[in-house]
Structure formats: structure tokens, C-alpha cells
């Protein structure tokens, strides 16, 4: 009788208990993570009177969709939205093509000093952006670029160390035979990059595009520094002025915050697989 295994000692029972425990923690964690977003939407649909209630209600008594329209009217949000879209799209195009171009140089062309330059590229990732912020501002202001989109767009066409690194790692996994065959046919590196590399690295390019668009869309520092004219404002900058203008009208503030977040949320749900692959791609190469 002593040899009999009690039910709580079996492997199956142990795994089951463990899985139940993990599941419980995960569900609890999900609630904690999602509540802020739900709270944002809930507040955006309440009346000011209901927001001031104590204790606050979890679900709005009546859904005030008009909050969104009224909040939209308090600033030049249509214009700011179009400005942001313009900057983000141009910057994304720059990042996708220029970084891929540079990455091709580092991955597929053997030139003198390539390794040394690549080490420098990696080292620049460790330089804090704020160190170059002040001198960059001086340079751009001397060029007369303040109050234009150039300081926000031009750097996107001069390569970004992290994206170059990411794309180069991806290109290294593509066998050289393909490009060698093309060289035999007399193709130049330009043609190989355009006709072979760009299509083959599409998954990595989508990742770069997503990250770049998101970064440009959510950038506050650049616009804050370089844009003074209210007509040129981006959504982040417009939203930021909300803080001073409106005496904390949370229903408007949350309505506009959610609206500004919406494009990022939509992109995330459409491309979530790519977001996750992006992280895998950058981690897989760092081990």
C-alpha cells in the first residue's frame, strides 16, 4: 500500500495545478493591463458631472459620443492630424529605403574598412540622443530650418543605426548565390538591391516601417523643439497644449488622447504578428 502514488503526487495533477495557477495570474494581469485603456474610453464618454462623482462609476450612465466632436473642435485637430500624417509617412518612406540601402552595403558588398565602420555604427547606438540635441538644434536653426518640417524629416533619410543593424542581420540570412547569379548576368548592385533584396526582405521592411511610423507619430521632442507656429503643430504637440488650455476637462482630454492613440492601436491589431516578429528578429541576433 505504501507504494501507491497519491493523486496529488502524480505528474498530471502537478501540471494541472501549475497551469491553473499560471492561468489565474495571467488573467489577473490582463485585467490590470487593460483596465487603464478601458478607463480612458469610459471617461471619454462621461459627462463632467459624472467624472467628478465619488466614488467614480465604472461604466458611463449615458454614452456622450458628442464629447469627441466637441473636443475635436477645441483645437485645429484636423490640420494637426494631416500634418502628423504627412511627417510620419515621409519619415517612414525615408527609413525603409535608406536604411535598407545602407544595410545592403554592409551586408553584401565587401569594401575596405567595412568591419571598422560597422563597429562604429554599433557604438553610435550607445550615444544618448540628448547629447546631440543642443548642437543639432543650433545647426538646424542656423540653417533656417526652425519652424519647418525639415529637422523632423531630413534625419530619416540619413540612416538610423538600429534599423540598419536589423536589416543587415536579415540580409545576411539571404544566400549570396542569388546575387552572384545576378552579377553574372551583368546586374549592378543597385539592380540587385532593388529587384532582389527589397522583395526578399519584405518582412523586415514591414517591421522597420511599423516602428518608424509609430515613432514619428508619437514623437513629441522633435516637434516641441522645432515647431512654434500653431499651424504646423503635430497631434502630440496639439494634445500637449490641451494641458494648459483646458482646465483639466478629463472627458475632452481622454477623448482626444484615445483618438490620437487610435492609429497606433489599429496598426498594432492589423500587424501584431510583425510587431512580435520584430522583437524576435532583434533578439535572435543579440545572443
Amino acid at each position: 500500500m505504501n507504494n501507491e502514488v497519491k493523486f496529488y503526487q502524480t505528474r498530471r495533477f502537478k501540471t494541472k495545478t501549475k497551469n491553473t495557477l499560471v492561468l489565474a495570474i495571467l488573467i489577473l494581469g490582463s485585467i490590470v493591463l487593460l483596465i487603464p485603456l478601458w478607463w480612458m474610453i469610459s471617461t471619454s464618454l462621461k459627462t463632467p458631472a459624472e467624472i467628478a462623482q465619488h466614488p467614480p462609476s465604472l461604466i458611463p450612465e449615458s454614452f456622450q459620443f458628442s464629447n469627441y466632436f466637441e473636443a475635436w473642435q477645441t483645437g485645429a485637430f484636423t490640420r494637426w492630424g494631416l500634418n502628423t500624417l504627412f511627417i510620419s509617412v515621409i519619415a517612414t518612406i525615408g527609413h525603409v529605403f535608406v536604411n535598407s540601402f545602407v544595410a545592403y552595403g554592409f551586408a553584401k558588398i565587401k569594401f575596405k574598412g567595412r568591419n571598422a565602420l560597422f563597429v562604429i555604427l554599433l557604438a553610435t547606438m550607445l550615444i544618448p540622443a540628448f547629447v546631440t540635441l543642443v548642437p543639432q538644434y543650433i545647426i538646424f536653426s542656423k540653417l533656417g530650418w526652425v519652424n519647418t518640417y525639415l529637422p523632423l524629416i531630413a534625419p530619416a533619410f540619413l540612416g538610423s543605426a538600429f534599423y540598419i543593424f536589423l536589416l543587415r542581420q536579415f540580409m545576411l540570412t539571404i544566400p549570396d548565390e542569388l546575387s552572384e547569379a545576378a552579377i553574372m548576368d551583368g546586374a549592378s548592385h543597385f539592380k540587385i538591391w532593388w529587384h532582389i533584396m527589397l522583395p526578399l526582405t519584405k518582412p523586415a521592411l514591414i517591421i522597420v516601417a511599423l516602428f518608424a511610423f509609430n515613432a514619428a507619430w508619437n514623437d513629441l521632442l522633435g516637434p516641441l523643439l522645432y515647431l512654434n507656429d500653431e499651424n504646423l503643430y503635430t497631434l502630440q504637440l496639439g494634445l500637449q497644449t490641451f494641458k494648459g488650455n483646458v482646465q483639466v476637462q478629463w472627458h475632452y482630454l481622454m477623448a482626444m488622447s484615445f483618438t490620437v492613440m487610435l492609429p497606433t492601436l489599429i496598426l498594432f491589431f492589423i500587424f501584431q504578428r510583425h510587431f512580435i516578429e520584430g522583437a524576435n528578429l532583434s533578439s535572435g541576433t543579440k545572443g
Binding site: L26, I127, M261
Partner: protein, 346 residues
């Protein structure tokens, strides 16, 4: 990172020269020989093409990195105010920074506080979440999406959201604390709680770092665990002797990058500062009792509020210096605890 660089170095450069008389190339099919010859002849053009392809980055490196860095080093020894004056003042800016400017030390302390708490907490949080999400449970894909979601959200909207969540009387956080009979703090209005508020907000988006760990965990060979099972190892032993060592390269990378990143905290404070007495900081915002005056905010105020470019450049260089020291320190001590063993090999 290092591995790939080393692999590149092992490849001989320039490619071995082949002559017409070379036996091996004679034996090769004609086409291959042709292509090989073509490439050798093109050594110079190949170099040129290489530089051409990386030229956008080189231009960026010179005009957005190296140039500005050197320029700001020079400016840090002047009283430059971007419009009229630019006199050489020697080490005055640095002297003022270390001996006269109390706010400099306040800002350095605030930043260190934030780095010291937020980096270990977010790293540990990311590892913990990754371990949970690595279990084999149906519906795991949905959980991964939920946990990653806050990490893609950023910018002013998120800061406003947290200002609302942390609002002392009507905020959700204090309401929930109330249910448990806890009288919540005034968060962003209380000098003691302003920095913990920002750290709490950072923890919300812990899922961003989680993905890196998850990817690594999924690469750990099951054979390692099976072997440990045979040896009768318990769950804790397996974690500390297999899982954790496998994660150390990612932890190492995560700590370096998030230290650099956290040192530069600026936007959060800039947007989320509420209240506070402006007279104590000469009319410049620093939050309640200057508790949110982070290093970069102090630098920003000096550079773009009072246009003291010389002083701000000196601060920038000191920041650069601190971060370099920290990075070298991390690299030096990495071999003490980081394991670079691959998946199956030991």
C-alpha cells in the same frame, strides 16, 4: 552582437586572388570563373560601391553625430547664447555645474533615483511575464497580445491617461486602493510619490522587453530540462541553473539599453508635471519641490528656456561621460555573470 562581428572578421579580406593558371579555377565551370574574375577586377569599384551604399549613413554620422558632438564640446567652454555672444570662458560652465548649481545635483539625484528603481523593476518584471507567457496553455496567443499591447502605446496620450488614473481624488488607482481600505497618496502632486508614479507607468509597458526574453526562452533546448528532470532537479533548481543563465545575455543587453534610455527621461516629466512652485527653480518647471526635475529637463530648461547653450552643452557632455562610464562598467563585469553558451552546447 559580438558574434556576428567576429564572424565577419574571420572572413579573409580581400578575397583570395585567382590567376588564369590556377588549377582549381580551371577545374571550375566557366561561368563561375568568369564571375570570380569579374569581382576581383572590380576590387576598386567594389570599394566605391560599398562607400556609395553606406554614404547616407556616413553623412548622418558626420553631420548629425560627430560634428554636433565636437561642436558642443567647444560650446561647453563658452557662454554661447545662440544669438549674440560666444566668448571662451574656460571651465566656468563645469565649475558652476559642480559647485554653484544646486539644481544640477537635484536633477542628477532625481535621475539616479529613477534609473536605480525603474531599470531593475522593469527588467525583473519583463523576465517574470516572459516566464508566465512561455507556459503551454491554450489561448496563450491572446495573452501575449494583451501583455504586449501597452508597449506599443506611447506619447502624450499615455501620459495624460496616467495623469487621470493617478489623479488623487477621482483617479482609478486611488479608488481601487480605497476598496481595500488604503488611503492612496497624492501621486503626481506629492514630491515623495512623483517618481514612483512614473515608475508605475513604466511597469505598465513591461511587455515590450518581455518579447525579447520570450524569444530566447523558446530557443532553450527541452533536452536540458529533461536531463535536469532525470537528475531529480526541482523547479527552482531548473530556473536558477538552466533558465536564468540562458537569459543572461538578454538581461545584459536589456540593462545596458534601458539604463541609457532611463537616464534620458524627459518627455514624461515635461508633460506630467503638475503644480509645484516655480519660484524655487527660477521660473522653470521642475514639478512639486523639483522632484521631477530630471537631468535632461534641467538641460532643456537651460538650453531652450534661458538659451544658456554653453552651460547646457557642458551638462550634455557630463551626461555622455556618465553613460560611457556606466557602459564600460557593465561590459567589464558582464563576464562575471553573463553566459554566452548556445542552446544545446554546454
Amino acid at each position: 552582437m559580438n558574434e556576428t562581428v567576429i564572424n565577419e572578421k574571420e572572413k579573409p579580406y580581400p578575397p583570395e586572388k585567382t590567376t588564369e593558371l590556377d588549377v582549381t579555377s580551371a577545374a571550375l565551370p566557366k561561368a563561375a570563373v568568369l564571375s570570380k574574375r569579374k569581382r576581383n577586377k572590380g576590387g576598386k569599384t567594389e570599394n566605391l560601391m560599398g562607400y556609395l551604399f553606406i554614404s547616407p549613413w556616413i553623412v548622418g554620422l558626420l553631420f548629425l553625430m560627430a560634428g554636433p558632438l565636437l561642436f558642443s564640446l567647444y560650446v561647453s567652454f563658452t557662454d554661447y547664447n545662440i544669438t549674440s555672444q560666444m566668448n571662451f570662458v574656460g571651465l566656468d560652465n563645469y565649475k558652476r555645474m559642480f559647485t554653484e548649481d544646486n539644481l544640477f545635483w537635484t536633477s542628477l539625484w532625481n535621475t539616479l533615483y529613477f534609473v536605480i528603481f525603474s531599470v531593475p523593476l522593469t527588467t525583473a518584471g519583463a523576465v517574470f511575464v516572459a516566464l508566465l507567457l512561455n507556459q503551454k496553455i491554450p489561448g496563450m496567443k491572446i495573452f501575449r497580445t494583451i501583455y504586449y499591447l501597452p508597449a506599443v502605446l506611447s506619447g502624450v496620450a499615455v501620459y495624460f491617461l496616467w495623469m487621470h488614473l493617478l489623479s488623487p481624488s477621482t483617479g482609478l488607482v486611488n479608488t481601487i486602493l480605497d476598496w481595500f481600505g488604503i488611503n492612496g497618496p497624492a501621486w503626481l502632486f506629492d514630491p515623495e510619490w512623483t517618481k514612483p508614479s512614473l515608475i508605475l507607468m513604466k511597469l505598465w509597458s513591461v511587455g515590450g522587453g518581455m518579447l525579447l526574453y520570450l524569444a530566447r526562452l523558446q530557443g532553450v533546448s527541452p533536452a536540458l530540462y529533461e536531463a535536469a528532470d532525470l537528475d531529480g532537479a526541482n523547479a527552482f533548481q531548473k530556473f536558477f541553473h538552466i533558465t536564468l543563465p540562458m537569459l543572461t545575455p538578454i538581461i545584459f543587453f536589456d540593462i545596458i539599453t534601458s539604463t541609457i534610455f532611463s537616464f534620458q527621461i524627459f518627455q514624461e516629466a515635461y508633460v506630467m508635471i503638475q503644480g509645484g512652485d516655480l519660484s524655487s527653480s527660477g521660473g522653470l518647471e521642475g514639478g512639486p519641490a523639483n522632484s521631477l526635475l530630471f537631468y535632461n529637463l534641467h538641460m532643456w530648461n537651460n538650453a531652450f528656456k534661458i538659451f544658456n547653450m554653453g552651460y547646457a552643452s557642458a551638462m550634455a557632455w557630463f551626461l555622455f561621460f556618465i553613460i560611457m562610464i556606466l557602459t564600460v562598467f557593465h561590459l567589464k563585469f558582464s563576464n562575471k555573470w553573463v553566459h554566452y553558451d548556445g542552446g544545446d552546447k554546454k
